[in-house]
């Protein structure tokens, strides 16, 4: 079977440079300041294994065009997946209607495409890999989890790979394209013992090729990790409740930085003054040990990209340095409005969505403390190991669900703990981080972040962190 037949980007958008130029002028017909066309063609496929069989496979195609017109700080948006010239022109006119005047400019000719770095230099594309080999990978993870221990009663493994072709052209003469691979292998495992039932999870991937699964993370290791987590939770006790010192594990705790700090440093919330940070630029918002960055240019990471979804070449962006607020995640609309340079954080889920400021790979940089000494320094407290997720409000209040952790007693990790909740206010916690470990690690390459109904792939990371005092929710 020649699968390539379905994947020719240009064939699906039979639009010449001249057509795109004309459509941009159509979009500016009512006098908008800026017009943009976003073309997307995405092919993704999945394999699911459970109950010892390959249950199903899928192949999916997403194809469409989105038109955006910005007029002042207002946005008009139209999209279509019917690519007839009539429907495409209608989408351009829909977007144009945000302005209500006559055209003031024509779109200039496209500039020559700059050479941009490639952050995903893969060898063996998952899309080109045979289905048989991908199924073999799924089976390997499944068998590894199932045979790890007799207490393992159920395993579910899924493999998803996609290739996303995007082109962004705009009325500033930009014309940029990117081909973004994305792969994810996940394993869910249920273990049982004496009427107790617990789940463990593991996974990996990123913007990688198939070589990742022999070099970085083998399916066997992943299956084993999921099984081990489920089994250790069988012995877990209920979490303590109340305020106490909390040590955050390296890697997995990055979600806390993502939720509690990252979102509120997205420029739109600051432009609108709804974020607690909006009037704190240049001010101390955390302890001096805190350095936070968002970097879309880390090779092979799930959150990385060569261009953002509005055609900006991204940069590693400092957000907090030495505890001081130094930067925000900008998209085109907020950057223009706040008169700040673009950082390349305008992302969208797909062609049906207006781009908004988003994170990519967000992390707290490492400090000086030895991670073991951090734990030894806590007499009685809680060690948060793995998280199920978290949520934050613009006011800075946040909640995290810890799926597994440990009690800390006399400087040692003791009983495993399940299902605890951490709550707090972001600036309060940033100030209370009193020890930053020397072991920066990133969490699983499986994360997806949701904002305003749009899901995009991200990662986050951090070293071992000690928070002097934090509220832990539990039963006791």
């Amino acid at each position: 079977m020649n699968k390539r037949d379905l994947l020719n980007f240009v064939d699906h958008f039979s639009l010449s440079r001249g057509d795109l130029q004309k459509l941009l002028n159509t979009a500016l017909a009512h006098g908008g300041n800026f017009a943009e066309i976003f073309l997307e063609y995405r092919v993704y496929s999945s394999i699911n294994m459970e109950e010892d069989i390959i249950k199903e496979t899928s192949e999916n195609i997403m194809l469409g065009a989105g038109f955006r017109v910005i007029h002042g700080d207002q946005t008009g948006y139209g999209y279509t997946n019917d690519l007839s010239l009539e429907k495409i022109t209608r989408a351009a006119l829909t977007a144009s209607s945000i302005a209500e005047g006559s055209p003031s400019q024509n779109s200039p000719p496209f500039q020559s495409t700059p050479v941009i770095p490639n952050y995903y230099p893969i060898h063996q594309s998952a899309q080109d890999e045979s289905l048989e080999n991908k199924i073999a990978l799924v089976k390997a993870a499944y068998q590894s989890a199932l045979t790890c221990d007799r207490k393992v009663k159920k395993v579910k493994v899924s493999f998803i790979d996609q290739t996303r072709y995007i082109t962004v052209v705009n009325s500033e003469g930009q014309n940029l394209s990117d081909v973004q691979p994305l792969v994810k292998l996940t394993c869910l495992c249920i273990a049982e013992k004496a009427n107790k039932r617990e789940a463990g999870f593991s996974g990996g991937g990123g913007r990688v090729g198939m070589e990742y699964f022999s070099k970085e993370l083998t399916p066997e290791k992943m299956g084993e990790e999921a099984a081990r987590e489920a089994i250790s939770l069988l012995e877990a006790v209920q979490p303590p409740a109340g305020e106490m010192p909390v040590v955050l594990s390296p890697g997995h705790s990055g979600v806390l930085i993502h939720e509690a700090v990252g979102h509120l440093l997205e420029a739109d919330f600051n432009r609108k003054k709804t974020s607690i940070f909006w009037n704190k630029m240049g001010q101390r918002v955390g302890s001096e040990q805190i350095f936070i960055y968002d970097d879309p240019t880390i090779s092979f990471f799930r959150g990385s990209y060569n261009i953002d979804d509005e055609g900006t070449i991204p940069k590693k962006t400092p957000l907090i340095e030495r505890g001081k607020l130094v930067g925000l995640l900008q998209d085109r609309l907020s950057g223009k409005f706040m008169n700040k340079p673009l950082t390349g954080h305008g992302r969208r889920q797909d062609y049906t969505c207006i781009p908004i400021p988003r994170m990519s790979n967000t992390y707290i940089d490492q400090g000086e403390y030895d991670p073991d000494e951090i734990i030894i320094s806590v007499k009685k407290g809680f060690y948060a190991d793995k998280f199920q997720g978290g949520q934050v409000e613009d006011s800075g209040k946040f909640t995290f669900s810890v799926s597994s952790g440990f009690l800390i007693e006399n400087g040692k990790l003791t009983a495993p703990v399940k299902q605890a909740t951490l709550i707090g206010t972001n600036i309060d916690i940033l100030q209370k981080i009193d020890k930053v470990g020397s072991d920066l690690t990133f969490g699983l390459q499986t994360g997806t972040c949701g904002k305003e109904g749009q899901a995009v792939p991200v990662t986050d990371g951090c070293p071992t962190l000690k928070v002097a005092k934090m509220t832990v929710g539990g039963f006791k």
């Binding site: 037949d5 379905l6 699906h12 390959i54 199903e56 496979t57 899928s58 192949e59 999916n60 195609i61 997403m62 194809l63 700080d73 207002q74 008009g76 948006y77 139209g78 999209y79 279509t80 997946n81 019917d82 829909t94 209607s97 945000i98 289905l131 249920i190 039932r197 789940a199 409740a241 109340g242 305020e243 609108k272 003054k273 709804t274 909006w278 049906t352 997720g389 978290g390 949520q391 934050v392 613009d394 006011s395 800075g396 946040f398 909640t399 995290f400 669900s401 799926s403 399940k418 299902q419 605890a420 909740t421 709550i423 707090g424 600036i427 509220t471 832990v472 929710g473 539990g474 039963f475």
Partner: protein, 448 residues
């Protein structure tokens, strides 16, 4: 092209793909097409922030050959692309394993009664953009006119018109149209470092039943300002009253635990509880896809099985798991008309209300918490464990004393179902999953 021609065109496309699939050697094939029109306007501080209008189509197909299943979806409705997808699916199915439970439902000749269900409102397609923009602007203006409100997340008005077509190789071919409209506003009160926020929305099938701007705005204001100047409380075990929006959240978790997919996968703590007591006599839960005009109403599910009224829990006894055809076969139960894509979804899934007013429930509570909102992800269907960050109002001597924040609630759904001691009379079908105010005998509220 008028509506009727368009409808015929999509039905013809679905039927032709079913025939093509059969000619290529599938045993069974199902094709669904969604054709949607979407409009949304977001306004903020008196100005349009964004305006989106679009039409789009999606096609999904499922093929079964030798008891092996493959799926495909496409937003590219080019016939050559779709035929290639069918061929690819047949080839991929060969590499899957046979599954004796795979298969499409046989069509039931039951009356489908689409007009009776009252889920399409032609008024929605006739609303002018100016009218829709004005509704959003007015809602935000009313909310901001309250001096205690300090900032706005904006107000939105959205409409959707969806035309669904479903065909399969057992001769099922039907279509229906439905509409949705929704008006919402989100606001903040208080100064930068002590902000509180909330929102309110009204979503309906029909424009005439949508709450007017005044009502949506006032409710959002009331919900926001009641949280101003929150206190922390000590960790303790107290009665907890769930407002209807919180009952909805709890029921959403219950739905995940009675979904046939979770049950056959043993991912639900209720897996082995069919026919058993799982709650007290206050708990009666239905799933009903047939209530005219409601958000979860539909004539048939995504596999073409007619919807019906399912008794899920009756006076605390678990009566039914909600199934699609596959989960039903796995559990040796009938499909309940709950297929939703490849999984199981709710129709109108609701807790039967009681007859006491929410005010009386509060008055009868000496000390406790009214749960207003929760944030976080702490729900585990495998164990029923719940652990979430929460915002609430503290009750002392039957009266609301002050708001509380930075608390968490922890408990277990199985335990909560046995501890409901009051059930309000305030059930409103504001979402597909819904319930009235309820009072739980006791839960751990963790604070200082």
């Amino acid at each position: 092209m008028n509506g009727q021609e368009k409808s015929h065109e999509l039905m013809a496309l679905a039927e032709s793909l079913v025939s093509f699939g059969r000619s290529q050697g599938t045993d069974e094939i199902e094709v669904s097409i969604l054709d949607g029109l979407e409009f949304s306007v977001d306004v903020r501080l008196g100005k349009i922030e964004s305006l989106v209008e679009a039409g789009s189509r999606y096609l999904g197909l499922k093929i079964i050959k030798d008891n092996k299943t493959a799926y495909a979806t496409s937003s590219d409705l080019n016939t050559d692309t779709l035929k290639q997808l069918v061929k690819n699916a047949i080839w991929r199915a060969e590499l899957a394993n046979p599954d004796e439970f795979a298969g499409l439902p046989m069509p039931k000749p039951d009356a489908i009664d689409i007009p009776e269900l009252n889920i399409y409102d032609h008024v929605i397609s006739e609303l002018t953009p100016d009218k829709k923009i004005a509704l959003a602007l007015e809602t935000e203006k009313i909310a901001l006119s309250d001096r205690r409100i300090s900032n706005s997340h904006g107000a939105s008005f959205e409409t959707k018109e969806i035309h669904s077509v479903l065909a399969n190789s057992h001769g099922f071919i039907h279509d229906y149209k439905e509409t949705f409209c929704s008006l919402s506003v989100g606001i903040q009160a208080g100064e930068t470092d002590s902000k509180v926020e909330d929102y309110w929305s009204s979503t309906e099938r029909h424009f005439r039943t949508l709450d007017p701007p005044e009502k949506v705005a006032k409710k959002a204001v009331e919900r926001t300002i009641r949280q101003l100047n929150p206190r922390k409380v000590k960790t303790q075990v107290v009665p907890v009253i769930f407002e209807p929006t919180m009952t909805n959240w709890l029921l959403g978790f219950l739905f995940a635990c009675v979904s046939g997919t979770a049950v056959y996968q043993k991912l639900s703590f209720l897996s082995d509880k069919l026919g058993k007591k799982i709650g007290n006599e206050y708990i009666t839960v239905y799933d009903d896809g047939r209530i005219p005009g409601k958000l979860g109403t539909r004539p048939y599910d995504s596999e073409g099985v007619p919807t019906r009224k399912n008794k899920v829990i009756e006076k605390g006894t678990l009566k039914n798991f909600l199934c699609n055809t596959y989960a039903g076969k796995k559990l040796n139960l009938p499909s309940t008309g709950n297929a939703d894509g490849a999984g199981v979804g709710p129709n109108n899934f609701y807790l039967h209300p009681g007859d006491i007013s929410p005010e009386d429930i509060i008055q009868k509570t000496e000390k406790g918490l009214i749960l207003l909102r929760t944030i976080g992800h702490g729900l585990n269907p495998v164990t029923g464990d719940i652990s979430r960050g929460a915002f609430g109002l503290w009750i002392e001597n039957g009266e609301i004393a002050y708001p509380v924040s930075e608390i968490t609630i922890a408990g277990n759904l199985g335990m909560i179902l046995n501890q409901i001691e009051e059930k309000g009379n305030d059930l409103e079908f504001r979402s597909a999953i819904c319930g009235p105010t309820i009072k739980i005998h006791e839960l751990t509220v963790a604070g200082e």
